[in-house]
């Protein structure tokens, strides 16, 4: 009626033009977001598989397992992360962060997990980001993992390290377990100082609680091996109680 009649006027049509532009903008943005969510889901699912592969490690098959994990990780990078990088097309890193953050966090978890098992050290953010450079069209700004996603991924890493440590103790690799314990404690301590400056620290605060639980689970496992080992220390005349752990005592007692 009235409204309909009047909408042919010039003011109304300029409004329509403008809103058509806004509509295009919103449609593009939403489509892009959706593609990125999907790319992120793929990264997540394949990173999880890498993590499982690492957990297959035993004393005997370490090299073999790690090599496969590293190969799989490289595949995640080249296939799935690179697709995310392409979908982003060098822009909107912060605007669409929520759409890809879960995938990137899981990817950080997988990559740092592999690296720690290989070298016992932390894979740095800079090193990770260096591997992302070649994925990008050189004319575009490359996706760089931001500190926040890196730290959130690191927080989850400690959960996997805890699982690993419990398994390693079973396999007699107590030294490795102690190394993990120290590593996780170091990360936890460093994070206590970093967390309050993080952009949205609430997520991270609950992760810190879980992390402390993980640390304590490892500590309790080490404690229990230790007191058990200590029990016969005098009996055995050994000065290193840590050699008396399960799996090791093929020595007759």
């Amino acid at each position: 009626t009235m409204a309909t009649e009047s909408s042919s006027s010039s003011s109304s049509s300029s409004m329509k033009d403008a809103f058509t532009k806004y509509a295009d903008y919103l449609n593009n943005q939403n489509d892009k977001r959706e593609r990125i969510v999907k790319a992120s889901r793929d990264i997540t699912i394949h990173s999880k598989k890498v993590i499982f592969q690492v957990h297959r490690m035993s004393k005997g098959n370490r090299e073999e397992v790690l090599q496969k994990a590293e190969k799989d990780l490289a595949a995640v990078t080249n296939q799935f992360v690179s697709r995310l990088v392409k979908e982003l097309g060098g822009t909107d890193f912060w605007k669409l962060r929520r759409a890809y953050s879960p995938g990137i966090q899981e990817y950080v978890e997988a990559a740092t997990f592999c690296k720690f098992c290989r070298t016992g050290t932390l894979l740095n953010l800079d090193e990770m980001n260096a591997t992302l450079f070649p994925l990008s069209d050189p004319s575009l700004e490359p996706l760089q993992i931001n500190v926040l996603d890196y730290l959130l991924g690191l927080a989850d890493l400690t959960g996997e390290l805890m699982r690993l440590a419990i398994g390693r103790i079973s396999d007699g690799e107590l030294e490795f377990a102690q190394k993990i314990c120290k590593f996780v404690r170091d990360i936890y301590r460093e994070l206590t100082l970093v967390v309050p400056s993080m952009d949205d620290s609430n997520d991270m605060k609950t992760k810190m609680d879980t992390m402390l639980q993980s640390v304590m689970k490892i500590e309790n496992a080490c404690f229990s091996v230790h007191v058990r080992g200590s029990e016969y220390m005098p009996l055995l005349g050994s000065e290193d109680p840590t050699s008396f752990i399960l799996g090791v005592p093929n020595v007759d007692i």
């Binding site: 409204a3 009047s6 909408s7 003011s11 409004m15 919103l26 500190v147 170091d186 952009d199």
Partner: protein, 229 residues
């Protein structure tokens, strides 16, 4: 050791970004208190003061806003690409700014303040620091929420032509919004509210019309855009 070194770096980076954020917030607080001044002045529009008189004070504040957005753009511009990292810090306030600018603009011209016009008024044209389209749209919805109250008070004060003008404006605006594909989010909810604003204005128009109070009962044609609606 490299681990400590890296975390030292992180802390430095995050603290730097924290400092940046505090500088942003300081400007945003000034923006907010400027919008309060504008709001307080604009409230007089409901007390049947003449529009030009009412607009005088708040219009003077636009320059202040421009200056503040300029500072904001400067601060955020120091770190290219980080606009959306800190977006949440000025989002709400900017939506309010848009709603006020939009209302003033409409009072003056009877037309919708377009996105580009809003950017211009805030001195953002051509800057990397742009006015986010969704913020603009939410701001326009907020502006629409003010219109029913305005219409009611104008009629009370004896301006019987106001409902027709507002109704036609809101009808067009509503039709324009329908072009958008909104996700189920904040903006969609605000847009749902606009429907109720439109209905309320139509009811007032009907009240006026049925009593033969409408200034120009036989014409529902769109008037040429003049000064005050």
């Amino acid at each position: 050791p490299p681990l400590e070194k890296q975390f030292e770096d992180f802390r430095a980076q995050l603290e730097e970004s924290g400092t940046l954020r505090e500088r942003i917030r300081a400007v945003v607080m000034e923006i907010e208190s400027t919008t309060r001044l504008i709001q307080a002045s604009l409230l007089l529009v409901h007390q049947s003061r003449s529009t030009p008189e009412v607009l005088e004070k708040p219009k003077a504040q636009i320059a202040v806003l421009k200056e503040l957005y300029n500072r904001l753009a400067g601060i955020v511009g120091e770190s290219p690409g980080l606009y959306y990292r800190y977006h949440g810090d000025w989002r709400t306030e900017t939506q309010t700014v848009v709603s006020l600018l939009g209302f003033m603009h409409w009072l003056e011209t009877g037309a919708l303040l377009l996105h580009t016009e809003a950017e211009e008024k805030l001195g953002l044209s051509g800057l990397e620091f742009a006015l986010d389209v969704e913020d603009y749209l939410v701001g326009i919805c907020f502006m629409s929420n003010e219109l029913p109250r305005y219409v009611v008070n104008q009629v009370t004060a004896g301006d019987y032509d106001c409902p027709r003008k507002v109704m036609m404006f809101l009808t067009d605006l509503h039709a324009a919004f329908r072009l958008l594909n909104l996700r189920n989010d904040f903006l969609r909810k605000k847009f749902d509210g606009m429907k109720y604003d439109l209905r309320r204005v139509e009811e007032v128009y009907y009240d006026v019309k049925i009593r033969g109070l409408a200034a120009n009962g036989d014409s529902v044609e769109r008037p040429a855009a003049q000064g005050q609606p």
